[in-house]
Amino acid sequence: MGAGIVGAACAEALAREGLRVLVLESAFAGGGATAAAMGHLVVMDDSEPQFALTAWSRRLWTELASELSPECEDDPCGTFWLAADEVELALVQRKAAFYRNRGVAVDVLSASELALAEPQLRPGLAGALYVPGDRVVYPPSAARWLLARAANYGAQLREGCTVRSLGPRRVETDAGRIETDCVVNAAGAGAARLMPGLPIEPRKGHLVITDRYPGFVRHELVELGYLKSAHTLNKESVAFNVQPRATGQILVGSSREFAGWDAALNPPLRARMLARAFEYLPALRSLHALRSWTGFRPATPDKLPLIGPWEPGLFVAAGHEGLGITTAPASGRLLADLVVGRTPGLDPAPYAPTRAMPAPG
């Protein structure tokens, strides 16, 4: 249930196992958070389980890279984690060690190397951590590509199909009941609508995209404080995160807030997000914004997704917050391992949907 990037990856992995897969999607494939997302494929060091999942998944994306269609706009541009001052540079060194100790290639850039690589960054930054293996894709196309692969293995997709209720081994749609061996809830931010016990809340984010300015930035640029923003659970927060797109447009993020399902733009928060971006890229001020929008990240209280069984016959693959695109392939593989009953590619316990969650607040 759900043809976003995670549902698509699950469909692909399950169909590849030889299982008969039916994907039910209420609107059209890749139209939810997948369409609002940045498509940054990034290895994260927030926690060991997050690292394990993002590193495995980035490896899978890299293996797929040569097969992805041109519409997926796969770009191995890498990430620069920016250090604004000496304090942050020390954090960069610690981050570098974390990655190196786990086999992820990184490079520490000096202030002058950084300025050479990204001339539009403001002078005075202390340096950066360069992660060359990180990539960027265009998520809606990647989701459709995964679904096409799943279809090659025999999977079917029903768009415009609303699921009214679900339970172990059964789904009620507006076109009737479907009995099955296994139901997978991959409905993203809306996953809890049909399973009220799921600890997934919509976490709204803003994005702005510019007109075409090819070469303005060449890598995904993120401030070190990004994780701080991802951690502030009960307030609005912003963090600098800018991406070059294949069209030459610049995608500017990021913000986080809990606003229920109100998709309306929050202009003061959008302004704060942009102001933060201007601090790192002063010339961004004069680039033309074409469009701004919001999306809902599916957020869990412990910042890890739910991947695995809820009860026999009912699985969950949702709650990926801002890492849905990155971790989709690994989520699909992990879910397929668990459905089929083989020893999974990594320890599934941290992602178990039924795990204890920290208390709110």
Binding site: D211, Y213, S286, H288
Partner: protein, 75 residues
């Protein structure tokens, strides 16, 4: 100046008028490489974009001509 050529226009003319009167038909190049010129002439279609004084994406149909302006087409 249009692509390096000096041009004289009537006072009050728009950059689009200056370009069209000068015989320029391709103001910009599309994503797939086609030549494009003004379609709507009222600032809605963005087909008339040219670079003026180094700033890209300016709609020629809305910009008044100013003495000394540098206009570059085909972007």
């Amino acid at each position: 100046m249009i692509d390096g050529r000096s041009v004289t226009v009537e006072a009050g003319a728009t950059v689009a008028a200056a370009l069209l009167n000068d015989g320029v038909t391709a103001f910009r190049t599309s994503v797939a490489g086609e030549p494009r010129g003004p379609l709507c002439a009222m600032g809605v279609c963005f087909e008339c974009r040219v670079k003026i004084d180094g700033v890209p994406h300016r709609r020629a149909c809305l910009e008044p001509c100013v003495p000394g302006q540098r206009i570059e087409t085909g972007g």
